[in-house]
Amino acid sequence: MNILVCIKQILDPEIPAREFRVDAAKHEAERGNANLVTNIFCENALETALQFREAFSDTKITVLSFGAATAEDSLRKALAMKADAAALVINDKTSNPDPLTVAQVLAAAIRKLGSFDLIMVGREAGDWGAGQTAGLLAEELRMPCVSFVDRLEPMNGGLRMNRQTDSGCEVLEAQTPLVVSITNDEHNVPRIPKVRDVMMSYRQPMTQWTLADLGYESEEDKYYEIVDLSIPRKESRCEFVTGDTLDERVESLAKRITEVTSAL
């Protein structure tokens, strides 16, 4: 099975809210002192692919990223986790491409890389969180798509997979080629690469392309545009329940709760 995993490098989503600033003119988050990290769902996707390869030999995993030159670090980490090959499309144009642009660029790179049976994408990214890459990529590549997958295995020349839904889970069977979006689960917590493998990853080859190398030209009509980005100020004042004893305080908490629920 020939697997491709898409990887996105993002601003560390774990930075505390009090350190988070936006550049209101550019409609972007300010980098500040924050690290750049691989989006967690992309790592869940890679982990799912690595486990697939461990269970079923004759599997090759290629990782692909579209982003700034710094995204090389995310791909090196993926190689250290033992992906077989890596390719980077350097974004020398817009800093925050819309979802359709991302899907078109990834599709162009995938066609140039070869043919894949399975394309895995993280469910959403921790920065813009649009959650559209899997669906739009499937459309660009004329493939079917299954979302929110957390486990998959081969079956009768195709795939059998489990996905999370809002009311539980579903089992699906699918033919390849296929695009899936991967969500997190206790089974696909990303492994930590060994220090030695991290060092070794910098000696491995990596394909690097510019948008021009892919012959990509942006379409004239945009998909959408960010017209405002701001930090919401929604600080309601908390009323701490009062009373001389714990019993009195809990009594007044119970009353406040009942006021809200009995109005329903």
């Binding site: 989503p13 809210a17 936006v22 409609h27 988050a29 979802p99 921790g126 969180g129 649009a130 959650g131 559209q132 669906g135 739009l136 459309e139 079917p144 798509c145 299954v146 979302s147 929110f148 999370q164 809002d166 009311s167 539980g168 889970c169 089992v171 699906l172 699918a174 033919q175 296929l178 969500t183 997190n184 689960d185 206790e186 998909y223 959408y224 545009e225 960010i226 017209v227 405002d228 980005l229 701001s230 930090i231 929604k234 600080e235 309601s236 908390c238 009323e239 701490f240 329940v241 714990l246 305080r249 809990v250 009594e251 908490l253 119970a254 709760i257 809200v260 629920t261 009995s262 329903l264």
Partner: protein
Amino acid sequence: MNDVVICLLNPTSFDRAAQGLAGAGRRLAEELNAQLTAIVLSPQVPGIAREVAEVVDKVIVVDQGEYQPEPALSALTETCSQQSPAAVLFGNDTYSQEVTPRLAYRLGGAAVGDVVEVTIHEQALRVSRQVYGGKAQATIELKRTPAVLWTRSRSFVPANRLSEPGSVTELSLEIPIDTRTRIVERKRESQSEQRLEEARVIVSGGRGIGGPEPFNDELKPLAELLGAQLAASRAACDAGWVPPTLQVGQTGKKVTPDLYLAIAITGASQHMAGISEAKNIAAINTDPDAPIFKHCRFGIVEDYRKVVPLLRQKLQALQNSQR
């Protein structure tokens, strides 16, 4: 045509989420001076279409049996194309989230998900959504038509009933058979008989709960007493104390209850991203500086182990006295 379409996929009832969706659709249609149409794809119980017709001008029913991703997408593409709408609105269920970007692609439009506000600005459609894990809010202007949106529909005010219900038509489509993907089994979590997204009261526990037993022995009885649904933070789900379907937050469910009672939850922005549309947030936490209190209507600084058993007694007593 300038019409607004709302889509209900595989509905089992005309629930609060669907009613909110109709409300958002109606307000947008009024601004555009247009009609509101509902596409009801594969209703799972009879009578839903008639209920929907009480609040929309036209209902189109397309019955495909149970939802399957590829045939559903083809059916929606064909039905929407016939309407040539300005906007197509969905709720935030799994199926809606999955079809919207692909439907936008096929209709030549643009999609945005997790929308909490829709406005018209100088004839362009603008939407608001949270980004950066709830740390920021973005306003996005759609540059293609139709706008295909999935929304936190339950947070919208429901639509008013029409004096004359809208028309109901059944549409049978010639959709080519597509078995490249097939849902072969649907398992419902026993605990989520009511969808968390639909819950009016939620009792939620975090890392500070400390294990699976207190969820079962303390929080669950409290939830039952309040007629509430049980939920949890990512930390509690990752620890395996409760199933992942209970997770609320940026990477879990986005909920819109009237009361969200956060117990031993610090309130990291990733968690707050899931409850920003809750009407009232209350917290029980030992740390007076916990970020959760910044978002609370009311709260108590105390160990939940002391509070919850006592709270159950007090609530029980209040309920008895009201009878």
